[in-house]
């Protein structure tokens, strides 16, 4: 029965908006995606950044902070694809994860702050306004993993900078959670659409459309950026363009992103999605099997090919998602967004 309803739904789209022909199918998909995917993702990031802030507060040295840092980055990989509402408000996405830093702003700005012992790190309110190049997970990655920065002692300026960045990450994680889960928060904006206290989507179809767009565009980013940047061209692979290669997280981030996308797809799918499931399983297995944590292996033609193939498999996933998730829900990638003039 569920399948049949799926087939009928697109026809109903032609009805006038006044009747907002919201099927149970769409409503259920929306509720699953918001309550079982977005809310846990927001919670996880809040908790993981709280831990990071606490740990760094107790001991700021790299080896002490690294495990909590990786926990927080893992949690971010479960949330970063939701470029919506509180996550993208006030430039938060970039303040949490400034990548790619094509002009090398992070090391340059960090070095400047450290040389000047800029007092902005002392006040969380002021630090929240500091350059995004000294905030977030990638500034912290430099401080913890890069030899230019990670040889600092307790109570040094760098130590307090690390603590300030960790605290600021939790400030943002907590703000996202508060703004997402408040009674008039963004989860309600998605769930209630036109009837929400702060409407952004006119109908629940638009809410689902927004989530579906996040699903597909996040996979495109993984293919085109996380994979596309380091593989470069056959003649010129670019391992130092991999995401988070300093902390050896390039491979892990691809795996975690694919898992997050699969979870969102499962929550949105109105029925079974056998082809998408199979494609996710295959692609995640390929990514897990790489044994190339920082994507340094792309220097070698065989290593590069293995990474490139993951990108090709993501294209396959996208095709199946369009058929098994997008079409039955009556949503697709944006008409203008997907095709320039």
């Amino acid at each position: 029965m569920r399948k049949l309803a799926a087939l009928c739904f697109p026809l109903m789209l032609a009805a006038p908006l006044a009747a907002d022909p919201l099927s149970d199918l769409l409503s259920e998909a929306l509720e699953r995606a918001v309550n079982e995917h977005t809310v846990p993702a927001v919670d996880h990031f809040d908790v993981a950044t709280a831990l990071l802030s606490d740990v760094a507060g107790d001991n700021c040295l790299p080896n002490a902070v690294k495990p909590a840092y990786n926990e927080a980055f893992d949690a971010w990989m479960g949330l970063q694809h939701l470029h919506l509402g509180p996550v993208e408000a006030n430039g938060r996405i970039l303040a949490i994860a400034f990548w790619p830093d094509k002009k090398g702003m992070i090391p340059r700005t960090l070095a400047g702050y450290i040389a000047d012992e800029d007092p902005v790190i002392e006040d969380p309110e002021e630090f929240a306004q500091a350059s995004i190049a000294v905030r977030g997970l990638f500034a912290l990655e430099y401080m913890l993993y890069d030899e230019q920065f990670n040889d600092y002692s307790e109570d040094s300026y760098s130590c307090h900078l690390v603590q300030a960045v960790a605290r600021d990450l939790h400030r943002m994680g907590a703000a996202i959670k508060a703004e997402w889960e408040a009674p008039d928060g963004f989860a309600q904006t998605l769930l209630l659409a036109g009837e929400a206290p702060h409407p952004l989507y006119l109908t629940r179809t638009e809410s689902v459309q927004a989530l579906y767009t996040m699903l597909t565009s996040s996979l495109e980013v993984t293919r085109d950026q996380r994979i596309g940047r380091p593989i470069g061209s056959f003649e010129k692979p670019r391992p130092t363009r991999a995401e988070a290669y300093r902390s050896d997280r390039a491979q892990r981030n691809v795996v975690l992103q694919l898992q997050a996308a699969r979870d969102l797809a499962r929550k949105l799918a109105p029925g079974e999605m056998p082809l998408a499931e199979a494609a996710f399983e295959k692609t995640i297995a390929l990514a897990e099997g790489l044994n190339d944590p920082g994507f340094a292996g792309v220097e070698d033609p065989m290593g590069r090919l293995k990474v490139e193939i993951i990108g090709q498999n993501i294209t396959t996933i996208l095709g199946h998602l369009a058929n098994e998730v997008g079409a039955p829900l009556g949503v697709s990638a944006g008409f203008n967004a997907s095709d320039g003039d």
Partner: protein, 363 residues
């Protein structure tokens, strides 16, 4: 020389043919092209509250339209690199003429009526000679092609006219060939040189601005003219979408170009792509849209960033009230300024890249 016979024919026509005006098409305030749920394309006329007044079927996906200044006539262009355009009688919904680009030229999706509506100008690429031109069509001669002039740059995309007759042209800088990559593959990205060009009313070059070398991949695509004749141009970056580049330029004749950017986080969110540009209805600000970034950015006339309004797939922009009318690929038409207010939503209707505002006409 006018013969007695043609004179009589013309006189007869003048008395018999009703003198249609935009009022006969319901006095639309805006025109926009869209694809409907069944996959058909049409040109729509909208009233000042964004309600649909008429629908005129189009043979293929549109891009933008050129509206005649007082006749209810619009020229709808196929999307780049189209080789045809159709003239739609908006009072009857019928296509009255078809314009075929001459051999070796293709349209860019935009056009402009000048000379009191007697002539239509169409930005085109002469791909044999790799140069941009404005095609000139004479409405009085059933839209006969009567000439063409150089735009002094490759890939002219949009054209507007100042009150003294001066033309301003956005040369996108991009060369395409209809035989390569379905005609949409960009063939000269590494050497492209977009420009903003002013031509006098007799089509001679009077001013040309190119961007600095590091911005040479920033294709100058679309134009908006403020009531005080400030020119705003929207750009599309042909490099990496993660590059941080300005997407809005502001210019007054004889002055330097001002490039405008939002703060870092918002600038990134545009994905280096501006789809449309429009001044606000009161002319006090200007906005660009990014369907890829799902937002519009508002700027003051001096280039100061005023804020973003988030809306997925938003692309079409036109002046309305003290703000803008925005359209998206999900059927919505929205009043936008600091925030947005839906005016119309037709599920299944996907508004195409641009909205065209019609001048308010004397009753």
């Amino acid at each position: 020389m006018t013969s007695r016979r043609t004179f009589l024919k013309a006189a007869l026509a003048a008395t018999v043919v009703p003198r249609l005006s935009w009022a006969d098409a319901g006095s639309p305030a805006f025109l926009g092209a869209a694809k409907d749920a069944s996959g058909d394309y049409a040109l729509y006329g909208l009233d000042a509250q964004a309600q649909i007044l008429f629908r005129a079927p189009l043979p293929a996906r549109g891009h933008a339209a050129a509206a005649h200044p007082f006749k209810p006539e619009a020229v709808a262009f196929a999307r780049r690199p189209g080789t045809f355009a159709v003239v739609v009688n908006c009072a009857t919904g019928r296509i009255t003429h078809r314009l075929d680009a001459p051999e070796g030229r293709h349209f860019m999706g935009h056009g402009l009526f000048v000379e009191n509506g007697d002539l239509l100008l169409t930005p085109e690429n002469n791909y044999a000679e790799k140069k941009g031109i404005l095609g000139i069509w004479d409405r009085r001669k059933n839209y006969a092609r009567v000439g063409e002039v150089a735009t002094h740059g490759i890939g002219p995309h949009d054209v507007k006219q100042l009150s003294d007759g001066t033309l301003v042209v956005a040369n996108g800088g991009i060369f395409t060939h209809p035989d390569i990559g379905e005609g949409r593959q960009k063939l000269n990205i590494d050497v492209m040189e977009p420009s903003l060009v002013y031509l006098s009313s007799d089509y001679t070059l009077v001013e040309k601005h190119v961007l600095t070398p590091e911005l040479h991949k920033n294709s100058i695509r679309h134009l908006s003219l403020a009531p005080d004749e400030q020119v705003a141009f929207a750009m599309q970056w042909e490099g990496d979408e993660m590059d941080l580049v300005p997407l809005l330029g502001l210019h007054r004749r004889g002055e330097e170009v001002v490039l405008a950017e939002a703060d870092l986080g918002e600038q990134y969110a545009m994905k280096a792509y501006a789809g449309s540009v429009s001044h606000s209805g009161d002319g006090t600000e200007v906005a660009i849209s990014s369907p890829r970034g799902g937002r519009i950015h508002r700027f003051a006339p001096d280039g100061t960033f005023l804020g973003a309004v988030v809306r997925g797939d938003v692309c079409g922009l036109a002046p309305m009230g003290d703000g803008y009318l925005g359209s998206d690929g999900f059927g919505a038409l929205l009043a936008m300024k600091e925030d947005m207010r839906p005016l119309n939503a037709v599920p299944g209707l996907a508004w195409d890249n641009h909205l065209v505002a019609l001048p308010e006409l004397a009753a």
